[in-house]
Symmetry: C2
Subunit: 223 residues, 2 copies
């Protein structure tokens, strides 16, 4: 029987994943030791290798747990927007993309906040296998959104669109990862740091304007 009926099914796994999420975010992968991790999770040192096989496999599990549903939500949002042959606007598309990520930011209790910061930090990590995994988990959603934007902005050159998506992706990633940097700019801590709704409005306005930036004729192959 593959199913365990009543008991705390895989509670140890969950506690390991939660602790890993937070500690990887705080100290990186190499900077997080199995001893610290298992201590934080309140499980035995050997539990990670028993349940996941190795530290590397644990890292992959951490990302799959959150990224699979998140990108599925993104695709579902786009499906909804494109129902009945409707062609969604750039702003609608942008909002559909950033919402699932921002939603995780609100989830301070179940550790979603930890994951978004971990994710933002991972985008800039050149570790080969990790990049490959991230790319693989993102590819389907990314293709769908690229196609949607191409349909919404038929007059924009393809390579320009690719770069603007890159910028948007970066802004979004950075926003998830490092909300604290506002302090550096502001010189003090802003009061509305965790007002997700307001942040979504600000970010959508910024990204929509950037995506729709005028196409200067100077943007050509000629340097």
């Amino acid at each position: 029987m593959p199913l365990r009926a009543v008991k705390p099914q895989h509670e140890t796994r969950t506690r390991i994943l939660d602790a890993a999420e937070e500690l990887f975010m705080l100290h990186g992968f190499e900077g997080t030791s199995m001893r610290l991790l298992t201590a934080k999770a309140g499980v035995n040192l050997a539990a990670v290798n028993y349940h996941f096989g190795s530290k590397d496999a644990l890292i992959e599990a951490v990302f799959r747990r959150r990224l699979d549903p998140m990108n599925a939500a993104r695709i579902a949002e786009l499906d909804k927007l494109e129902a009945d042959g409707h062609v969604p606007s750039p702003e609608e598309i942008i909002r559909a993309f950033i919402t699932p990520g921002l939603r995780l930011t609100e989830d301070t209790k179940a550790g979603g906040r930890n994951f978004t910061r971990l994710l933002g930090r991972t985008y800039t990590e050149p570790n080969k296998v990790l990049r490959q995994l991230i790319g693989q988990l993102y590819a389907p959603a990314m293709q769908r959104y690229k196609a949607a934007l191409e349909r919404a902005l038929p007059q924009m050159p393809r390579d320009e669109l690719v770069w603007r998506m890159h910028f948007m992706f970066g802004t979004h990633a950075y926003t998830l990862a490092a909300t604290d940097t506002v302090q550096l700019i502001a010189g003090c801590k802003p009061e509305d740091r965790h007002d997700t709704r307001l942040l979504e409005e600000r970010l959508t306005a910024f990204l929509t304007a950037g995506l729709n930036a005028p196409l200067k004729t100077s943007i050509r192959k000629a340097a």
Copy 2:
């Protein structure tokens, strides 16, 4: 006499800093061992502790070497723009800010490219002492640019400006760090990846449009 006349003054230091730049970028701080680092630099294992005192002090030296001149260049650019009481436009200010960073990107030979990627990765690193150092090194330039933008956009609310600067900073950082992510979006590698001039135009257009995004009345304290 404090000066050493002719010989390869502090060549060992330089080789350590160059190797550290590349390896920290590739594997992070905790992921880079002193043995690998000194081997790559072609120096003795004890050299780092002799010349810098510790691994942590080496990290700080790596950032100071590049960041001090870079932010000095940013301030100098702004000085030039504001000469004779001229009030620079948002686009001029943005260009002045991003140019020094992008210029380093071109410098593949002397390792500047390595540093920009390292820098982008560090922005999202929550390591306490490192964030403090970065903040301290950036603070003067950041205040100047904030003041310049406030003068250029007097009608924009302060907190909205802070967030838009945050977004701009993030886009810039991400662009420096992870130019390879375009491949994920494009599905193939774009040909003009290292055309810095073109990248500057694209980035400036995107950021200027984002900064000047219309101020919706819905952006208020009310959630």
